[in-house]
Symmetry: none
Subunit: 219 residues, 4 copies
DNA sequence: CTCTAAACGAGACGGTACGTCACGTCTTCGG
DNA sequence: CCGAAGACGTGACGTACCGTCTCGTTTAGAG
């Protein structure tokens, strides 16, 4: 168990532990150096050439960390990439604060949409795809993306509830699925463009369904 | 161009041509045999072992069609699989007719959800993932899945509009994204279960946003 | 069977088939090119850096033949090296013809001893060692070395018998073992030097045991 | 130099120092425990799974001695194995005493042949092979095997000389090479079986060459 | 009923990356 | 200060599947 998981694998951080049974082990200074070097190299490679460029060999070469060691820290290539990309993405999407629930959620969806439409959005899609056939990587993916998204939306939704704009009875996970599912669907299948306008339309419609009548945006 | 596309590649059929510039070439009897043999073999392999099992070598071996010939008919492995799986899926999802727009759309979403949750749903996810890095395959994917889904929803939505239950001003593509995006999101990331109950909750919320006040389901 | 053996694996050549069950398959022009390229590259690498240098990766790189293809032609690295080195060695050791059995056999042993003492002798030792843990390679080794040696000694021994110098009742394999075993023993273990003088002493003693009294060399 | 050699490396014991420049360092009680634990573990591993099983990691794990410590006592894996196997072999081959030189030497060769043919013979071959590319290990190999063999044969040969059966002018090393070289040759290359009968034939022929006419066995 | 041009089966091939193994070194910390 | 524990770099391994290619062999359909 611990031998196949890195010092801060999915779920190690805190309450967001996704119950994948992944537990960290005590980290020495050596491990930290390795850990950071790998993630830094991976971020660079992902940025430069997307997921296909983030070969384990390439990561090893650039980071100066051997393949064998990489595989001691992470269960698969997808896991490394998920962790690295998670760190990349976190910075790109700060929480908005427009003063209203509708405004905040709309803004957040638009930002995420824009992110998906950017070059890094391509990487996101590749990573999502890679995790479909890699359960180990998927655990990391869930921890480093979805958990992050979830925390953000939970925060915003809670604000809305506190302000009386939203119905406290709605499960946050449903909010997430309805707000972001459509974006991800488009991004992955490429069947339609991801523009801000599209995003605003989607979020407006979704919020009409999610919010109580008084708070709902109109068509 | 045409030399890399099969006799009935995406867009070859009719008005659903997705403008990917894919055009078929005249088909002889030989081609038809080959075509069918490949698809049949691929369907079997997909059913038995999912996308990973549908290796081009495996398809060639089982169908008796050589790899070179397969690549004369389809641009990539993903394309073959998309076409084959499209045929598999079509049968599994007939149009519902409950008498109401809300009922029809709900039923359709629930059926699709159940399909995604079934073993074939796994294949669907794999296929979606495979097309992320394969533009050629993606064209087939869009033609053989999304187009099919789109036609079905368009039909249902039109019924709703005709019955005065739905607002004719809403773009069908948005309906599709909002109804199915969340399902696909869950299926691909595996972050939550796909149960009928979840599906009903999602569709109810989505329809509250999509339908005019008079037709909307309540929380 | 055939799929793992190259066009002229051990035993394919003729009557010397060592009964390892290795059978060649019909060779196309592609295979021939590959085959030759690999052997040429391997010979160069063996000559330059010995067996350790004849990495499969290195062979692939230098020959322009991919690793996968190499493994389609030979069962292991040792097998490739054995075949290649066999060709190298064959040229280095022509049959002597001094006019007498004692002279011919002595000369042959001295030449082999000198070969073992040369840089290529090091490669020979490495190859022998490599085959200890590689049954597949060992089959090639036996075919391409021992068979070659055996043919040579058989020829010389037969001459001796024909001239009435040697006893027809002695099994050639015993002759080989007694004449060359000591040399190989020394070369492998490095416990003593391999000089011409040592070789002559050994062969003289051995022949005293092998030949009838009349033909025997004296101490 | 000494830092890489154990407390009783090759040549440390006595006059049989093979001039490889290997010198022991003073041994404390800790070292002794470590030393013995390692050798015991190695013997077990060699017996159970041959040389391939006697991984340094495996030895460390089983003996409770760390890898770093092992490398303080021996220069390489092969060296540890050589020392350990030397102790295993010593017990298996006591000196014969049949009353005649011919009898003793024959018996000794037959016993060694039987040993080579046994499971431990496989290990012997692997060890010999391993030392080809490991000069440091080779030094140990020579000390713990060849020296042992040499002492035994020297003893037997001396008896023969004392009894007037053997010629005092023959170098013992030549005797060794001629008697055992053929066996080792067969064992390593696997080109022929190692049976008692073969061994007797070989030794008879060899002795015909080695012994004065009066003592020689006949064909 | 040929005869030619295309379609085809078979499968070799180069390429790229995978994940694994064991060696021997080096670091950390406990007794 | 020695030694246990074990992380680490290194270098090679053998495998998998992709998509391309070359070879002969069918097989149509035109003349």
């Amino acid at each position: 168990m611990r031998s196949t998981e890195g010092p801060d694998g999915p779920g190690s951080a805190d309450d967001t532990d996704t119950a994948d049974g992944i537990v960290p082990h005590p980290t020495g200074p050596r491990s930290q150096r390795v850990h950071q070097a790998v993630l830094t190299a991976t971020k660079e490679l992902l940025t430069e050439g997307g997921y296909p460029a983030a070969t384990v060999d390439a990561i090893a070469a650039r980071s100066g960390v051997s393949k064998a060691t990489i595989y001691k820290h992470w269960p698969s290539r997808a896991a490394v990439a998920a962790k690295a990309f998670g760190e990349l993405m976190a910075r790109a999407l700060p929480l908005p604060d427009t003063g209203t629930a509708v405004g905040d959620l709309t803004e957040q969806v638009v930002r995420v949409s824009a992110f998906y439409a950017s070059p890094l959005g391509e990487v996101f899609a590749q990573l999502t795809a890679a995790c479909v056939d890699d359960p180990a990587g998927a655990a990391y993916f869930r921890e480093y993306f979805l958990a992050g998204r979830r925390r953000a939306v939970t925060e915003l939704w809670q604000r809305a509830v506190d302000r009386g704009e939203a119905d406290a009875g709605i499960v946050v996970d449903d909010v997430i699925d309805i707000l972001f599912g459509p974006l991800i669907f488009r991004r992955l299948t490429g069947h339609r463009e991801l523009t801000d306008e599209h995003a605003r339309t989607l979020v407006a419609t979704a919020l009409r369904g999610l919010l109580p009548d008084a708070s709902r945006p109109q068509h």
